[in-house]
């Protein structure tokens, strides 16, 4: 196997680990501020370096860039193999963008007054960042699997230690569900690796495309389909695709605000990323065959998530269920298996990260002040915190998919792709588009309950004004909301060639397969 020198990507990946190591040697009591700023500094440095990645990235080249590959367990064909294409880049950027916001927000959080262990918290944050970047850059199935599993550990503790009243239940549930999926994925990984003689994804995909590596396929239940499902179920739990979503409300509601932001902003995207990166190109026939089934689950998710969301009395739960709905859009976009749907889906991952991450920040800020997530405890907050109210409105509208803001661009492109898809089509689009109406219903319900009406509850009348970290993170979120909404072409350009390569790798199997299935 070839050896390559140190790639910029490896630097980006391991920078949080450097920060983590430094944190280990700091004194929790005496250096509280230093701990905070070190963590924040490293997350910002990681972000800036990932911007450098973007600057050096060649969008015309659909292949992997910034590749680094070193033998690790040569006997088993396992190597430290990292690299990114446009798809990986956009998700790395999302990760490194969300992390400083989550960390900065934690500065003003009250959780440490109750639970302490601030240093450990920031250590987990950096560990999480490392693992999440790892997931998006790993090109070896075993490495990917390790990063995938490692993300669980810090999240488990973030929820379990700094979460709400039912944090342990939620943390364990989160862990169990993901583990259950992971085991299936592990089996599939090992089988694929055994067949291919390597765990390097680009080589496996090349083999599949060239026909030198064959996972036998003859219908919905065949070897290839089972491998596909092994990966898919693991990813579906993470996304989550209906009906695997029941861990999500718990994890979201119980997680500390920063945890919810990261969960919604990045962790859920690992699932949809996995589907695009692994399921589609490695098992193209099974992907086409199963697309309508997954598409139906996606559409159910859109409508079901929105409908359930409307009935919630807990704001955080409401936002959590809205994630199910939003991620349903991403899922049908992917399984539209055309350029519009796929690129819309990838952009929608980013948009959801920003908008729903923003919503969780808003809920967190309210919670910091009122220590309740009951929607009925609020009302008229716009009067108490005018600037906060205005920013909240923008983020709410972005989440509803208002044209001109980010959410719309993704949704529109996804639905456009769905309607023109060879495998989904107009019926899917018709039902999925209903989600646009439902989104307005539950989002405006929430906005009205919290922000409008008379400011009549005495405990709401004297809320602490916004702190500077709060203003900063929200303003950054709102700027992104507008930027992506008005100039999305930049992002499409970034991923165009690489997502197309993936779409093409599946599309070549579509005609014969649709013929066969008929």
């Amino acid at each position: 196997m070839e050896m390559t020198g140190l790639s910029l990507l490896t630097v980006v990946l391991f920078l949080p680990m450097v920060g983590l190591t430094i944190l280990m040697f700091m004194n929790e009591e005496k250096q509280r501020n230093a701990i905070r700023w070190t963590t924040f500094g490293f997350s910002i440095a990681t972000f800036l370096l990932s911007l450098l990645l973007w600057a050096l990235h060649d969008p015309a080249n659909p292949g992997l860039q910034f590749v680094q590959r070193n033998d690790w367990l040569p006997t088993f064909g396992v190597s430290y193999y990292v690299g990114i294409d446009g798809l990986g880049l956009i998700l790395v950027l999302l990760t490194t963008f969300i992390m400083p916001l989550a960390i900065l927000f934690s500065f003003t959080s009250h959780i440490f007054e109750e639970r302490g262990r601030e240093k450990l918290y920031y250590i987990f944050m950096l560990l999480l960042e490392w693992a999440m970047i790892g997931v998006f850059v790993a090109q070896d199935l075993v490495i990917f699997y390790i990063f995938w599993e490692v993300t669980l550990v810090p999240m488990y503790f973030l929820v379990g230690i700094w979460g709400g009243d039912q944090r342990v239940y939620a943390a364990v549930k989160f862990f169990l569900y993901t583990m259950a999926g992971s085991i299936l994925m592990l089996l599939a990984v090992l089988y694929v690796g055994g067949q291919a003689g390597t765990f390097a994804v680009p080589e496996i995909v090349a083999g599949v495309q060239a026909g030198t590596l064959v996972f036998p396929f003859d219908g919905l239940f065949s070897t290839q389909s089972f491998l596909f499902l092994g990966f898919l179920i693991a990813f579906a739990i993470k996304v989550p695709i209906f009906p695997f979503h029941s861990w999500l409300p718990d994890a979201h509601v119980q997680a500390p605000t920063a945890g919810s932001v990261i969960l919604a902003g990045v962790l859920l995207k690992m699932g949809t990323y996995g589907i695009i990166r692994f399921c589609l190109p490695m098992f193209p026939e099974a992907s086409v065959a199963w697309a309508p089934v997954v598409g139906v689950l996606g559409v159910i998710g859109i409508i079901y998530g929105a409908w359930v969301s409307y009935a919630q009395q807990d704001i955080k739960k409401l936002v959590a269920y809205s994630s199910v709905s939003h991620m349903g859009f991403v899922v049908i976009g992917i399984f539209a298996l055309n350029a519009q749907g796929m690129q819309g889906a990838v952009l929608q991952m980013v948009n959801h990260g920003i908008s729903t991450g923003g919503l969780f920040l808003l809920v967190g800020m309210l919670y910091e002040r009122r220590h309740t997530k009951d929607i009925n405890a609020y009302g008229g907050i716009w009067k108490a915190l005018p600037f906060f109210g205005a920013l909240s409105l923008i983020i709410t509208l972005s989440s509803m998919g208002l044209p001109g803001l980010n959410g719309f661009v993704g949704e529109f492109t996804i639905l456009l792709g769905t309607l023109g898809s060879d495998v989904l089509g107009i019926t899917f689009a018709l039902f999925a588009t209903l989600g646009v109406i439902l989104a307005a219903i539950y989002m405006l319900y929430m906005f009205q309950k919290v922000f409008l009406g008379e400011l009549d509850k005495p405990e709401n009348q004297h809320l602490h004004p916004m702190t500077w970290p709060e203003v900063t993170v929200l303003v950054v979120v709102v700027v992104m909301v507008f930027w992506i909404g008005v100039q999305p072409a930049i992002w499409f350009e970034m991923m165009d060639s690489s997502t197309n390569a993936i779409v093409d790798s599946v599309a070549q199997f579509t005609p014969q397969l649709t013929a066969m299935l008929r």
Binding site: T75, L120, L190, S246, Q340, I437, Q487
Partner: protein
């Protein structure tokens, strides 16, 4: 003057900047500054609109397509052939909209400066108004459906914010306002669902969402006519096309039509090359840039022969496809053929079906925005917003967007006969039903709201019968007289409030008449400091002893009467507006309504169209209702005796409010003459010498392909006028007395036993809201609760507890039993201790799960090791 079109982006920029200033610095500005910034920004848009008008008249009505600077396109996915730019279109249709939107908008800004005086969110109000104007102008100037949709939903958000402007009013009033705002947005979203579906189908059928491409002519036939006309008097068109020839090919001065064709055919290649190089939108910008250096910036294309099928916009392509015969194909321009068959994904169909579906989905969208059955229910509730908002958004501008979209897409509706019939029925029934509901309302603004719904029904029905120009004409006249009526009602409401305040101060003996001004000012102040409630503000502070004040509603016509003597300017302008609305000759409403009716008549009689008969019948009945409820309103409000003491103290409104009324009044009289029908005879009063005949239609025909000139039908004009006069006569008979209401303030129609059920039905708004509540809202909420319960109790608890947890524990037990006391258990405990060491907080609850957790990890590790070893063992 040729590059005048390049300033088009400013029309959006100015109100955006105005909104931004008032948003950011508004709280620090005083009222005067906020109002001036807002009004100047609005006024600037009107002058730019005038500039656009003069640009078009100076350039043979050639549309301009402008790419705003600094923005690099919008939605662009090259590999998916998706290219949707930020691009403005200046053509006769968009400029028509621009002119009346910005003119009425500016007047309403000025009016609002007086009306909103004292409101604690004064600057915020102007920020919203400016923001609304910006979105409305995006809506009408967008050159593609998606940009139109940005404006479309943007104005929806502004409408949401403005309906709910007083969201913090006490006693649940605020929540009521917020509910009305939410209802409006959600009803519109249902319509937007339709628009989105129409857009998706459009994109996959035509590969683009652009209305027209640069250099494309919307209506070649209209130019053909122009060329021949000018040919005969050898006029400027020749020289224009000649210059065009110079510009591109240097083919020389064309002397005749044939020479022009030659000249233009040379253009073809040049233009095509430009297209291919620059990708549509940018080509236009480049054209501009390039042409600046030449003496003649704009070419003069008389048709689209220079463009291939693929280079046409949505409507150009649709025209060509719809005219194809069965089995015929035409060249796309890239060597491939296109026929009537349309393939969208796995769905194969033909062009007629697709176009009908698109039109049908658009109708749903229009029903939302233009408040038609079944989605109109939001508009009457939208009156919860401040009155200038009702005038601007919910009467003159935003609600016409649905009609605008349909007229813009007239190609689709023209060819979709069945859908057009549905459009006619929807519009006609809405016009009649809303007219009926208007006559039983007591709230002065609600009457006008239902009237607006009814008039929008006229416009929609006009689209249904193919009278596209008439629809726009009525939209325009309606914008003037309905804005006038709303602003007049605002003036009345304002006056009633002041009268009411005055009454209090008087009653408390706060001073004799000499102190009137002071007392008035004080009342005004309190009016500003607590919420700007129309219904019940102020009095709860200190005047609770006034029994009759408790239910004082300044919008309730039962408290009015005899206001003509108190506010003469408001009265006269209001009567003008009402007469225009009722379609009284020769006011503006007469001409526009008559054109729709005459078109319906001709569709019925000459073309034998069912839609013509339906429209004629329903709309004549609706016209009767219109004249009747307006008579009722004018007499209840202005005539007879005052039914409340407050009336005696009502002042005329301030100049900021009356001046816009007067201006709108003048326009409501004369604006109808801009589109006189052909052969008006004496009815035009000879004013065609000033305005010409069907000037508006001629102008619109450059952009609206299927527009046609309306002819005067004496029969229809006389019947319609007769119907209107009869209704007015009847109205005066019923409501003309000193006090038409009985001692219980009941309507004469209610008192009459025969009419009572009808009046009750009308007053209850035909129970639409109740029906929707039962049919949709409550089931929706019930299902939401049910799903939430199922989700939590079944998916979340039951499946987790009994399937997943038990399963895991079972597996864990099986795996851990045989070596329970051995190495593995020790490891498990070790892991447990480690976890405890890290987190004391987790200690207690961990006991039950740590095993599962650890064993699960262990299973994973073992599986990895075993499976990794397998290939090695095999090998």
């Amino acid at each position: 003057m040729q590059n005048l079109a390049l300033i088009a982006p400013l029309i959006i920029l100015f109100p955006s900047v105005g909104a931004f200033i008032n948003f950011v610095w508004g709280p620090k500005l005083n009222e005067r500054a906020s109002a001036i910034i807002g009004s100047v920004a609005a006024g600037a848009t009107f002058f730019i609109a005038l500039g656009m008008f003069s640009y078009l008249t100076g350039n043979n009505f050639q549309p301009a397509i402008i790419d705003p600077p600094l923005l690099d396109g919008w939605l662009r996915i090259p590999s998916a052939n998706l290219e949707i730019p930020w691009q403005q279109r200046i053509d006769t249709l968009s400029v028509t909209m621009l002119l009346f939107v910005t003119f009425v908008g500016t007047l309403i800004h000025i009016y609002a400066a007086g009306y909103m005086h004292g409101d604690k969110r004064f600057s915020r109000f102007f920020a919203y108004l400016n923001m609304f104007l910006a979105f409305m102008l995006i809506l009408v100037t967008g050159n593609n459906f998606l940009m139109m949709f940005v404006g479309w939903e943007g104005v929806g958000v502004c409408s949401y914010l403005l309906i709910g402007f007083w969201w913090d009013k006490p006693k649940g009033e605020g929540i009521k306002n917020a509910n009305a705002a939410r209802k409006a947005f959600i009803a519109n979203r249902v319509g937007d669902f339709g628009v989105l579906m129409a857009l998706f189908l459009t994109f996959w059928t035509f590969g683009s969402l652009d209305f027209f491409k640069p250099t494309e002519i919307a209506n070649p036939a209209h130019y053909e006519h122009l060329v021949h006309e000018d040919d005969s008097h050898a006029g400027e068109e020749d020289s224009h096309s000649g210059e065009e020839g110079d510009d591109h090919g240097g083919e020389g001065e064309g002397e005749s039509t044939t020479a022009q064709t030659v000249a233009l055919s040379t253009d073809t290649t040049v233009a095509q090359e430009g297209e291919e190089d620059d990708h549509g939108g940018e080509a236009a910008a480049d054209d501009h840039g390039g042409e600046e250096s030449h003496s003649d910036p704009f070419g003069f294309y008389v048709n689209n022969d220079h463009l291939t099928y693929n280079q046409l916009g949505v409507f150009g392509q649709a025209e060509k496809l719809l005219k194809l015969g069965e089995g015929e194909t035409l060249d796309r321009g890239d060597g491939t053929q296109v026929g009537r068959t349309v393939v969208i994904g796995s769905w194969t169909t033909d062009i007629d079906t697709v176009v009908s579906l698109i039109a049908l989905f658009m109708l749903l969208g229009a029903a939302g925005k233009s408040a038609q059955i079944p989605l109109f229910v939001w508009l009457p509730d939208a009156m919860a917003g401040p009155t200038p908002v009702s005038a601007l958004i919910h009467a003159a501008t935003m609600v016409t967007a649905g009609v605008y979209m349909m007229v813009r897409s007239n190609t689709f509706f023209y060819y979709a006969d069945e859908v057009s019939l549905i459009v006619t029925i929807i519009g006609g029934v809405t016009a009649l039903a809303a007219g009926f509901m208007a006559l039983g309302q007591w709230d002065i603004k609600r009457v006008l709201a239902y009237s607006t719904v009814s008039q929008l029904g006229f416009m929609v029905a006009a689209v249904g019968i193919g009278a596209y120009a008439a629809a726009i004409f009525h939209m325009m006249t309606h914008a003037f007289f309905k804005a006038l009526l709303f602003l007049g009602s605002g003036s009345v409401i304002h006056g009633m409030e002041h009268g009411h305040h005055h009454l209090h101060d008087h009653g408390h003996g706060a001073g004799g008449h000499g102190h009137d001004d002071k007392a008035h000012a004080a009342a005004h102040d309190s009016h500003g400091h607590d919420s700007h409630g129309h219904d019940s503000h102020g009095h709860d502070e200190k005047h609770d002893d006034h029994a009759h004040d408790d239910h004082f509603d300044p919008q309730d016509m039962r408290t009015m009467g005899g206001l003509s003597r108190r506010m003469p300017i408001t009265y006269i302008t209001y009567v003008i507006g009402a007469a225009a609305l009722a379609g009284i000759w020769p006011l503006s409403g007469f001409w526009s309504k008559d054109e729709i009716l005459a078109d319906a008549w001709r569709a019925a009689i000459f073309d034998g169209k069912l839609s013509g008969y339906i429209a004629l019948g329903l709309l004549l009945a609706a016209a009767f209702m219109t004249a009747f409820y307006m008579t009722r309103q004018v007499w209840l409000v202005f005539h007879g005796e005052g039914r409340h003491d407050a009336v005696k103290h009502v002042p005329e409104s301030v100049w900021q409010m009356t001046v816009p009324l007067i201006i709108l009044g003048v326009f409501s009289v004369f604006i109808g003459f801009v589109n006189l029908p052909s052969d008006p005879g004496v009815s035009s009063l000879g004013l065609e010498a000033v305005f010409g005949l069907h000037a508006l239609t001629d102008w619109l025909e450059y952009s609206v392909l299927h527009a046609h000139v309306g002819a005067f039908e004496w029969l229809i004009a006389l019947v319609a006028t007769g119907v209107g006069l009869a209704a007015i006569f009847l109205g005066i008979r019923i409501y003309g007395g000193a006090n038409p209401l009985n001692e219980k303030n009941e309507d004469p129609l209610y008192v009459n036993r025969g009419f009572r059920p009808l009046f009750v039905f009308s007053n209850a708004r035909m129970y639409w809201d109740e029906a929707y509540d039962r049919l949709f809202i409550r089931p929706f909420q019930a299902i939401a609760r049910l799903l939430a319960r199922v989700d939590w109790d079944f998916w979340h608890d039951y499946v987790h507890d009994s399937v997943i947890t038990k399963g895991f524990n079972g597996v864990a037990k099986i795996l851990s039993q045989p070596v329970d006391n051995g190495l593995i258990d020790g490891t498990v405990r070790g892991v447990g201790r480690l976890v405890k060491g890290i987190s004391g907080v987790l200690r207690q609850a961990q006991t039950g799960y740590v095993r599962v957790y650890a064993v699960a990890l262990l299973v994973g590790v073992v599986a990895v090791v075993v499976l990794m070893l397998l290939p090695v063992l095999q090998g």
